[in-house]
Amino acid sequence: MAADGYAGPPRVRIPLAQPADARRRRAKGPDLTHPHFDLPNEALVEMWYLLLLSRRIAERWFTLNRQGRAPFVVTGQGQEAAQVGTAAALVPGKDWVLPYYRDIGVMLTLGMTVEEFMLNVLAKATDPNSGGRQMPAHWSAKELRVVSQSSTVGTQIPMAAGLAWASQLRGEDAVAVCYIGEGATAQGDFHEGLNFAAVRRLPVILVVENNGYAITESQEKEMPVEHVADRAPAYGMKGIVVDGNDLMLVYRNMHQLVEETRRGGGPAIIELKTYRTVPHSSDDDDRRYRTRAELEQWLKRDPVDRFRARLINDGILTEAHAADLDVEADQEVREALARAERAPDPDPATLLDHLFAAPPWGGTS
C-alpha cells in the first residue's frame, strides 16, 4: 500500500462473470446494464434516479466550488440522458469505456459510487480515479474497464480502436466505447482513429455528445456539416443522430448499436443532440457567447424533468415517489460528501510514486 493511502490495483468491484452491479444501490429490477433484458418499470425508475443523482452530484460540486472547497468544476448538466442512456446499454467490466470530462452520468451508471465522485471532486488521496493527481472528472476505473483519461481531447479515439483490437485478438466480444464532444471531433485523431477502426472493422462506438458548443464556439465554427454523424460514411460506417435529451430514445438506439457492433457490424457513430445548461466550467461565463433565450428553450427540454414527466404520465412514477427520490438523492450526496471529507488529502511525499513499474530512481512504484 502506497503512502498516500491508496491500496493499488488490482481491485475488483464487479465480478466479470456477473455483470449485475451490486454497488448500485437502487437496482431493484433485473440488471439494467445487461442488454438482453427488457426494461421493467423498476429499471425505468432506476434510470430516472441515475439522471437525478448525476444532476445532484454536479450541482453539489458547483456549491463546493463557491464555498472554496473545490478549485475547479466541469460538469454536464443537461446531458445526463445522453450519458445514462448510452452507458446503460454497456456491460460494465467487459466493454471498454472511454468517457469524457462531462460524463458523471456514464460513470454513475457503470458503477462509480457517489462517495467516489465526492472523493474525486475534493481530490482526496483515496479518489479512485487519480488520487488527486488529475483534475476531477478525469475518470479511471480498471475493474469497470474505464481507461484513465487525459484532458487532451481526441486521443481517446485511436486508443479505443486499440482496445477493441486487443479484445478481438484475445477472442473477447467486448465493444470499445469512446465519448466525445462535437467540438473535439475536429481533431486529427478523430480521422485517424476512426479510419484505423474502420479499415479493420473493429468493434468501436463513438458517442458524440453534441451540446452545440466547444467552450464559447458554436457548432458552425467547428464544422461545415450539420451532424458529426454525417462524417460516418467517410469511414464506411453507420452514423445515427438521436435526440440526446430523450432517455429512452438514447437507450434504445445505443442498445441496438452495441448489439450490432458486438456481432461484428463494425464501428459506428451515435450522435446525441443535447445542451449543457451550465457554463463550460467554473472558469467560464456563458453569457458572453449565448443568449438566455436559447438557454431557456433548452431548459424546457431538460432530460431529468422530461423523463420524470413521462414516467408520471405513463403511471410508472407518482409525484410523491419522485419527491421522495429527490430527497433521497440529496441525502445520498450529502452523506457521501460527509464521508469523503474525512478522507485523507494526498501525501506530497508520494509525488514521485508510480513513474515506472520499477523505478530507476526516487519513489516506490
Binding site: A123, G132, A186, D189, E217, K221, P346, L351
Partner: protein, 326 residues
C-alpha cells in the same frame, strides 16, 4: 507610465500590433470571446471577424493554416489555449515552420507567433500546468521567449511579431494576474535573445525565467538579509540563449544556481549548465547547481501535490546557501 498586470500588458500589446499592421491577425480557440484567460478580450469588437478568428478545435490544422497564412504574407498570431495542447501541432511547428527558411535558403519565411500560457500554480493538474520550453528550445529555426514582467511581455510581443521567423511566445499563466509592473510609454525595445540582469550581487548567480524569476528575487531578498548577495539573471529568451550574458553572470560570482519550474532532466537548465561548464570553467568556484521540478509527468491537481512539485523561494535559498558555503 502605468502599472499593469501581465494580462493587461499583453492585451494592450495585441491591440497596438493589430492597429499598426493590417497583416496581423489573431486566431485560435475561443479568441473571439476573449479566450479562456481573456487576453484577447475586446479585440473582436475593435478589429472585426476578419482579423480575430475562432478556429475549429484542431491545433495541427489551425497552426498549419497559420503557417500557410504567414507564407502568404500575413503576420498571424496563434493562441494555443494551454501549452499542453500544443503537442498535436508539434509536427507543423518542427517539420514546417522551423525548417522552411533553411530548406528554401531564405526563399520562404514563416513570420508566425504562437502565444500560449504555460506553467503551474493554478490547480491545473497534468494538462494545464506543463512547461514545454525545452522541447522547442531544442529546435533550430524556432525562437522561444518567456517574459517574466509586464514590460518585457509587451516589448517582446512587439519583437516577436516584427520578427520574420517563427516565435514561440510563452506566457506563464500564474503571472497573468499575479505579476504587476510598470509598463513605460514609450516602451523601450527588447530584442529577442537578450537576457536582463534583475539584481546585482557578488556571491551567487541565479539564472531563471518566467514565474521562477520572481521566486529567485524573493529568495535573493531573504538571502540578502543573511548577508548573501545574489546576482539574478532573467533569461527572457530561451532560444537562442544570450550566451554572453549568461557566461558573464556566471563568471561574476563563480557560483551558479539555475532555476526552472520545468522538471529537471533534459530541461533548459542542462543546456545553460553545459555552456557554463564549457565556456566559463576557469571561473567556477563550485558545482553548477540546478533547482527544478522533479522528474514526474506533471504537477498534481491537489494543492499539496502542486506545491510539492513547484520550486519556490525557500528551496532556492537553500540551494544558494549550500553553494555560498562551498
Amino acid at each position: 507610465m502605468s502599472e499593469q498586470t501581465m494580462a493587461e500588458a499583453l492585451r494592450d500589446g495585441l491591440r497596438d500590433l493589430l492597429a499598426a499592421d493590417e497583416r496581423v491577425i489573431v486566431l485560435g480557440e475561443d479568441v473571439e470571446a476573449g479566450g479562456v484567460f481573456r487576453i484577447t478580450e475586446g479585440l473582436l469588437d475593435e478589429f472585426g471577424e476578419r482579423r480575430i478568428f475562432d478556429t475549429p478545435l484542431a491545433e495541427s490544422g489551425f497552426t498549419g493554416a497559420a503557417i500557410g497564412a504567414a507564407l502568404g504574407g500575413m503576420r498571424p498570431i496563434v493562441e494555443i489555449q494551454f501549452v499542453d495542447f500544443i503537442l498535436p501541432a508539434v509536427n507543423q511547428l518542427i517539420s514546417e515552420a522551423a525548417k522552411m527558411r533553411w530548406r528554401s535558403r531564405g526563399e520562404w519565411q514563416v513570420p508566425l507567433v504562437v502565444r500560449t500560457p504555460w506553467g503551474g500554480g493554478v490547480h491545473g493538474g497534468l494538462y494545464h500546468s506543463q512547461s514545454f520550453e525545452a522541447l522547442f528550445a531544442h529546435v533550430p529555426g524556432l525562437k522561444v521567449v518567456a517574459p517574466a514582467t509586464p514590460a518585457d511581455a509587451k516589448a517582446l510581443l512587439h519583437a516577436a511579431v516584427a520578427d520574420p521567423d517563427p516565435v514561440i511566445f510563452l506566457e506563464h499563466k500564474r503571472t497573468y494576474r499575479l505579476i504587476r509592473g510598470e509598463v513605460p510609454d514609450p516602451l523601450p525595445a527588447v530584442g529577442i535573445g537578450e537576457a536582463a540582469l534583475q539584481r546585482d550581487g557578488g556571491d551567487v548567480t541565479l539564472i531563471s525565467y518566467g514565474l521562477m524569476l520572481h521566486e529567485c528575487l524573493a529568495a535573493a531578498e531573504t538571502l540578502a538579509a543573511e548577508g548573501i548577495e545574489c546576482h539574478v539573471l532573467d533569461l527572457r529568451t530561451i532560444a537562442p540563449l544570450d550566451q554572453a550574458a549568461l557566461l558573464d553572470a556566471a563568471r561574476h560570482t563563480g557560483k551558479v544556481v539555475i532555476v526552472h519550474e520545468d522538471h529537471l532532466s533534459g530541461g533548459v537548465g542542462g543546456e545553460v549548465a553545459a555552456l557554463i561548464a564549457e565556456h566559463a570553467f576557469d571561473h567556477l568556484d563550485g558545482p553548477i547547481t540546478r533547482v527544478a521540478g522533479p522528474d514526474v509527468p506533471a504537477m498534481g491537481y491537489h494543492a499539496k501535490l502542486e506545491a510539492a512539485f513547484m520550486p519556490d523561494a525557500a528551496r532556492i535559498a537553500e540551494a544558494v546557501r549550500g553553494l555560498a558555503a562551498y
